[in-house]
Symmetry: C2
DNA sequence: GTGGACGCTATACAGGCGTACAGTCGGCTA
DNA sequence: TAGCCGACTGTACGCCTGTATAGCGTCCAC
C-alpha cells in the first residue's frame, strides 16, 4: 500500500528483513525457511501464513529490495547528492546489504534481478555512446562486459575480501575496492596494438563445437 | 598414478567427467549424486564405492581439473604457443568447460579454487609491478580487483550471455567477450582527475558500521 | 458480551537428499 | 576347477526440506 517503510515493525517485516539478510549471505538454496523463521523470531508456519511459499517470499524480497534501491537512487538524484559511482554505497550500510542481495539474486537466477542487469547494460550502452564512443565498435558487448564485471566482482566477494584482508561489504573494504576500481577505469592496461593483434588472432576461432554438449569427454583428449 | 588421461575409459572416469560437467553447470548444491550417476550411466552406489562421498568426489574433481589446467598451460608454454591471454581457450572446448568449473567452484567455496584465485592475485600483482607500475599505488588492491573481475564476469555467465545473445562458454561467445575485454583493457574510461576526485571524496567514509551485523534493520531507515 | 477474523504456533506429512549395506556378477590366481 | 577380490547394483535408512493443517490466544465490530 503506502510507503513500505511504514508498514514495518511487524512480524511480517521482520521475516522479510531476515530473509533478505540470509538470502544475501547464503542464497536461496543455502537458506531454509526454518533458518529465516528463527532469525526473525517467529515460527516457520508464519512464513507460509504471510507469504504463501518460500518462492513467493523470495519474490517479495526481490521486489522490496529493488523498489527501495530505485527509491533511494531517486532521492539522491533529487537532493543532488550524486557524486562518483560507488560513492554513496560507502556511506550507507543498507545499500551495501542490498547490493549483496542483488548480486546473490543474480546468481540464483532471479528474474527481477536479471531485468535489472539488462537495464544496466542498456544504460551503460547509452553512456558509452555519449561519453566514450571511440573505445569500441561493439557497444553492446562492451556494456555487457562492463556490467558483468561490476556485478561479478561482488559475486567474488569472499575471494576479493580475502585478498584484500578486509570485507568489501563493509564501508572500509568497499572504499578500498572502489579506489582500485577508480585506478583501473582511468588507466589503460594494454597497448592498443597488442589488443588489436589479440583480436585478429582470435577471429578465426569462432567455429568450434560447444563445450557443454552431452557427449564430450574432458579426459579423453591428447597429451 | 601416471598421466591422468590414461586412467580413463573406466566407469570411474565417466563418473568424474559427468560430475565435472554437472558441477560446472549447477554447482555442487544444485547437483545430486543420482544426477551424476544417471549422467555417467551407472548406479548411485558406485559413486560411493569409488569416491566415498559426494564431498570427496568434488575434491577429486577439483584436483583433476586444476591439475589438468596447469598441465595444459605448461604444455602450451613449452610449445611456445603462448599468444594473448584468452587465445587458447577459444580453440579448446575442454578449457572452456574447466574455466566454467573453476568459476563455479569459486562460488561454491572450494578451497583449491580459492588457492588458485590467490595465486592469480599474486601473479597479477607481480605483473603490474613489472608492466604497469604507475597505474596505482595499491598493487594488491588493484590485482585483487582485476582477478575478481576476470573470474566474476564468468560467474555472471548467464546474464552476460543473455545480453550478448550468445553463450560466452562457446567458442564464438568467448571470442566476442574477449574482444570487448581487449577494448576495455586498452582504453581508459574515466578521466584520471575525475578518478582522483572520486577517491578523495570517498576517503573520509571508511568508518561506518558493518552492513551484515545481526541487529540492523534495512527497513527502519528514514525516507 | 459475544462472534468472527487475524496473528501465530505446533505438529504432521510427503518427497528428496546423502549415505549405508547386502548381495550379484565376472575375471584373475593357485 | 576352486576360491577370491574388486566392480557394480538395488534397496533401504535417517535426515532435512518445503508444505499443509488444526488449534490457540487476542483484538475489534456489533
Amino acid at each position: 500500500m503506502g510507503d513500505p517503510v511504514f508498514e514495518d515493525l511487524t512480524a511480517r517485516a521482520r521475516i522479510r528483513d531476515a530473509a533478505i539478510r540470509l538470502f544475501a549471505e547464503g542464497g536461496t538454496g543455502g537458506t531454509t525457511v526454518r533458518d529465516i523463521a528463527q532469525a526473525a523470531g517467529v515460527s516457520p508456519g508464519l512464513l507460509r501464513h504471510h507469504f504463501g511459499s518460500k518462492e513467493a517470499l523470495r519474490e517479495a524480497c526481490d521486489g522490496y529490495v529493488l523498489d527501495r534501491l530505485v527509491q533511494i537512487k531517486e532521492e539522491l538524484l533529487l537532493e543532488n547528492k550524486m557524486a562518483s559511482p560507488g560513492f554513496l554505497p560507502s556511506v550507507h550500510p543498507t545499500i551495501l546489504l542490498f547490493y549483496r542481495y542483488v548480486t546473490r539474486a543474480l546468481l540464483d537466477g532471479s528474474p527481477r534481478a536479471a531485468a535489472l542487469f539488462d537495464d544496466m547494460v542498456l544504460l551503460t550502452e547509452q553512456w558509452i555512446g555519449k561519453n566514450a564512443p571511440d573505445v569500441t565498435t561493439d557497444y553492446r558487448g562492451f556494456a555487457a562486459v562492463l556490467v558483468g564485471m561490476q556485478s561479478g566482482i561482488l559475486a567474488m566477494h569472499d575471494h576479493v575480501s580475502r585478498a584484500l584482508g578486509v570485507d568489501i561489504f563493509t564501508a572500509g573494504g568497499h572504499v578500498r575496492m572502489a579506489g582500485a576500481l577508480a585506478d583501473f577505469y582511468s588507466h589503460p592496461l594494454l597497448d592498443p596494438e597488442f589488443a588489436a593483434q589479440a583480436r585478429r588472432a582470435m577471429e578465426p576461432l569462432q567455429s568450434t563445437e560447444t563445450p557443454t554438449a552431452a557427449g564430450d569427454d574432458p579426459g579423453a583428449e591428447g597429451a
